[in-house]
Symmetry: D2
Subunit: 363 residues, 4 copies
């Protein structure tokens, strides 16, 4: 495969550049019989879309998705689902300023060396604009997973230096940050306002939780559920780290502390993050991801041009000062794609397995 | 694919249980013409193998590998390379004690639910014993990568609470910990000795560095180099987190700090860890992984049996008190497999690309 | 993968139903730097499109393709190429007559059993309408292959009972049948006119020839070039048989007759069809395919409905009386996709191979 | 993938050369809970193995298979199954005579050009010896398919010029030819004896029938069941053609003749060979394959050496005068692998589909 297809049985193939005519995706492997309309996709697309608060890019994209195939009379047919989103706000600004140089921390330099030719307008294929299609495809997965009792949710657990302990899911959809604590929101807003004044950007941490995941998902030894999550989440723009459960905190833990003991009433803790030996345990699947600060900032930086000459770069235009703010729905979508794929993969080979051992939740 | 094949063009398929007759692997896609002998594989197998110090399991496995195919007169032929390692020290101990119960933090519970039937002897397929084949396959990749000027090395950067700043590669192969600072070794030994007396285990952090990686490796948007590294490294037993470059520290960084500026003399820093937009930049590729504490400890823990009844579990036998100690060659092998695969993938599609822009190293 | 993606490194994923809003495809893995415009795709689309003579369906589809991504300033960028063709002539006829019954020799019965739900309008996904996207994608492959000196051509070698010996390529594009002998065309026309009067349909045989294929393409032991061609060609609607070179005639051949002897001036024959041991030999690659008669005919046939009751079926509408007539560009496209994929696969692993043995053509 | 792995969910990866130390395979994706012993594999291995009659090669290989993993206490565990067959009769004959030249119709020339280096002993990887592993893996698939009511059988339907109409399955295992008509056997034996005296070889045709295949297997539009069968069967050494159902005879058929009408009592014919629109119909799946005459004959033939000089070649050694004689179990195995894979693939995505329409057999 050539890099733009995700998944084994539930596959998502995407195409499209930031400033090209459209984004397109083909979702293959969706089971037949699922009710599906554009409204199902639009909900998450709207959660991701730019321009909904002053803390994100002001590019205006309605991100209206069209279903081209695979759905008949409102029901999936088992044939591939074609999705189309037209780009509408590709500003006809002059890109000649960045055409022949490399913005620091962008993919300009690496695309140039890899492909020799690149669509430099707005980052082309390397722009986070492509994540719109991940979200649309993820929404299909989410809808199917819901029929299996699986729910995926995410929230911002850190913004720059500000840690955000989880308080309540009720808060998450009530603010522009996917912040799970309403009392923290003013602090986040103040921080972002100052950041804009500083002409700078900052990173963030997102936490994902999937509830209702049955035990058994994941295909060792390579396609472990945690390994596939790491792959999926690290493939999102700006992500520099992924943890499952206790993650890096496991390093300093002792075995007596880390191991999640089992009782007939349930697991006593969830340091594993719901994955043991690469297979879901029935506990909530928990992952964290680290997003780096946006590379597009107006503070000048040193760089070179294609000929190797030194230049100073300022990235103008409309950019998110913290890409992490809009990352929650994207990360949720990627987790949904992984779980969906593994529901199907598990079903293929283990359809006849029947164990009577109780499924444990977390106490 | 069913989970036991790694890679797209340079593929490694493995089989084998901890206490079965043998481990076996098929490495497909190795370019023809590479000189290869068992000695090339044995070097890393010996670095990984158990029983070389008092800080690892005392199971004695010579891990002697046989090349069954794909090599003719000492040269690879382009046909698949079959590898075989017989298990020799599967102690005939009585496993009936753990047959019907689930050791906390092990894969017992999840394998039971997924497959209904499992080889419970020594963890079966979920045992880290299977990593021997990863190391053997990785050694082939390493040898080929060396012909391309790429070198992969790793070291332990943290043992439990003890952080180990990098000092010198010269130290790494001189101690049982892959510790890059000879002065730290006594502290590590003392810690491990105390840990054993405590009948406990602990986690560790491994750092990997690949030098000589050319710009251009990685296939966005999903099969990014960093995403594939995350997948590969998270698939190793006990790994709970993966970082690229600055990793989780990126969260609190500002854009002006994180972005690696470019000058004609080279990049000024390497927060990116050598990957931009999912493609190698020509800088060293740097990854970190977190390993959890070993689950097999002799301090009793609460659990249940297959009928759901509460039991107390003690894991006897021969186990590593810190799986991280032997993890460095395994992690190196996985990075080698990823880079090897991406060298081939990049070559396939971009063979004709010729750019004159200079390749930058790190200052 | 879920069945709608073709290829390993040069992949084509398609979606779209006969009477849905559009056909869509994503072509991934095209090397960067290839000049490409919609005109390059339109040439073959026009060769395939319906309604160009009285011998094919009268459905009017301009089959105008839009390139959505992957091409910048007329040059491929190495990123995936999105393709879109809107359906324009989905007649709003009443399909209730066929909604609940199964047309003999159609996919109605099997789609019903597989998916439970199906888009019955015009055959839905099982319609040959989807081959438009194969042709568009194949045109990209053809264009790249031409830069490597590889040319793919096809012709009709049999129409129903009428065998058509090859005479000249010059004739092939000069008639509605892709017939390589202009003197045969009146006979074919008369046969088709009678067939229409008989309200019946008939099969056909297509022959494909690829010139300029270098030795070395094909990946034994499973992904042999001939095996991949068989897969690709058998995946085309209505195809019931595939031969390479002498094909079924090999059965009665003796070894002394079949083997293609080699001389310094070239091979003395081409019974192998340009493939030995699954790898191209440098001779022309030759394949033949058999297409069954169209299933949609107006002569009544016995069938059942979804409840299992007997019914009589007449397939009205606009249909090809011989699907083989339009099959040549489709078959060429599939051969192009296979060769393109194998050019890339071969390049990945054998980039360093240099042999001085001469490449032989055919005498 | 690099060519030596077959399948999507039930995958078989093989390695091994004709005169290397061993053949090895890894079968991944076998559902857990299947009773499996080496005896299950040995039955078909013995049917394929050489030296069982005077009409096949006299190489003596017991082909004893060892199961290295994936089976515990006689039951598959869902983990990959490693298989090993040691080569025992690699005669230490001098291969220097063929080392630097290309035997006509062999893979020598193409392997040389592709890989630059090759194991020339007995054909190396291109030898039909590798099919032993296909047979072993196929036996696992057959055993599982039997639990689903699916049975795969094959027979020789033509030997050189002698057509063999099907008479009875009872005869097939009673003679060296897999001939379904006991009265034909003397004619076949006489033909083969004369052929040996002529120092020549001949082709054959094999017919495969799978009974009990449920409707619904196959994944359009590319991974159709017939397309996958064509791929699988064409990947077998010496195969030059594949047909499904009426195959090439479909060309001259009219639609009224070809279409298999349906009645409540069943289909009235099976020109489709059990596949409609790429999906199994519930009728028997029928395929035919054409095998070319053996290339290894002692009648001298013209060729060239690696330097391009003309040479005369005689292929000495132990060879089958008709590779088709031993091909039946190999072809059965490939059909089993395809059906097995598609049983799993179908199950993954269509587990919830429930239709009440009756499943039709053939009248």
């Amino acid at each position: 495969m050539s890099g733009n297809t995700f998944g084994t049985l539930f596959t998502v193939t995407t195409a499209g550049e930031s400033h090209g005519p459209a984004l397109v995706a083909i979702v293959d492997g969706c089971p037949p019989g699922l009710p599906l309309t554009t409204a199902d996709l639009q909900y998450d697309l709207d959660r991701r879309k730019p321009g909904t608060s002053r803390h994100t890019t002001q590019r205006q994209e309605p991100d209206e998705v069209e279903i081209l195939s695979g759905v008949f009379e409102g029901i999936t047919t088992g044939t591939p689902i074609g999705l189309l989103i037209r780009n509408t706000d590709q500003k006809s600004k002059d890109y000649s300023a960045i055409k022949d140089l490399f913005r620091p921390a962008h993919a300009d330099y690496t695309y140039h060396h890899k492909y020799g030719v690149r669509d430099y307008r707005g980052g082309g294929r390397s722009s986070a604009r492509e994540t719109a299609m991940r979200v649309a495809a993820g929404a299909i997965a989410k809808k199917y997973l819901a029929t299996q009792g699986i729910r995926i949710r995410g929230y911002m657990s850190q913004l720059g230096p500000i840690e955000i302990p989880f308080k309540t899911w009720d808060s998450v959809e009530q603010n522009a940050f996917f912040c799970p604590d309403p009392d923290k929101v003013p602090e986040l807003e103040a921080y972002m306002d100052q950041l804009r004044r500083d002409q700078d950007s900052v990173g963030a941490r997102i936490t994902l939780v999937a509830d209702g995941v049955p035990p058994g998902l994941g295909e060792p030894i390579f396609d472990r559920l945690d390994a596939e999550l790491a792959y999926a989440l690290m493939s999102v723009n700006a992500v520099k780290g992924v943890e499952i459960g206790a993650g890096f905190a496991s390093i300093a833990q002792r075995g007596t502390e880390h191991r999640d003991e089992l009782t007939p009433e349930g697991f006593l803790s969830n340091n594993a993050g719901g994955v043991l030996g690469g297979i879901s345990s029935g506990q909530p699947v928990v992952a964290h991801l680290a997003l780096k600060p946006t590379s597009s900032i107006t503070t000048p930086g040193r760089s070179i041009d294609v000929a190797g000459n030194p230049v100073d770069v300022i990235t103008k235009g409309r950019h998110d000062p913290c890409v992490g703010i809009r990352a929650t729905p994207i990360a949720e979508a990627m987790m949904a794609l992984v779980l969906m794929d593994h529901v199907l993969r598990h079903r293929a080979q283990n359809a006849d397995v029947r164990v009577t051992t109780p499924i444990l939740g977390q106490l």
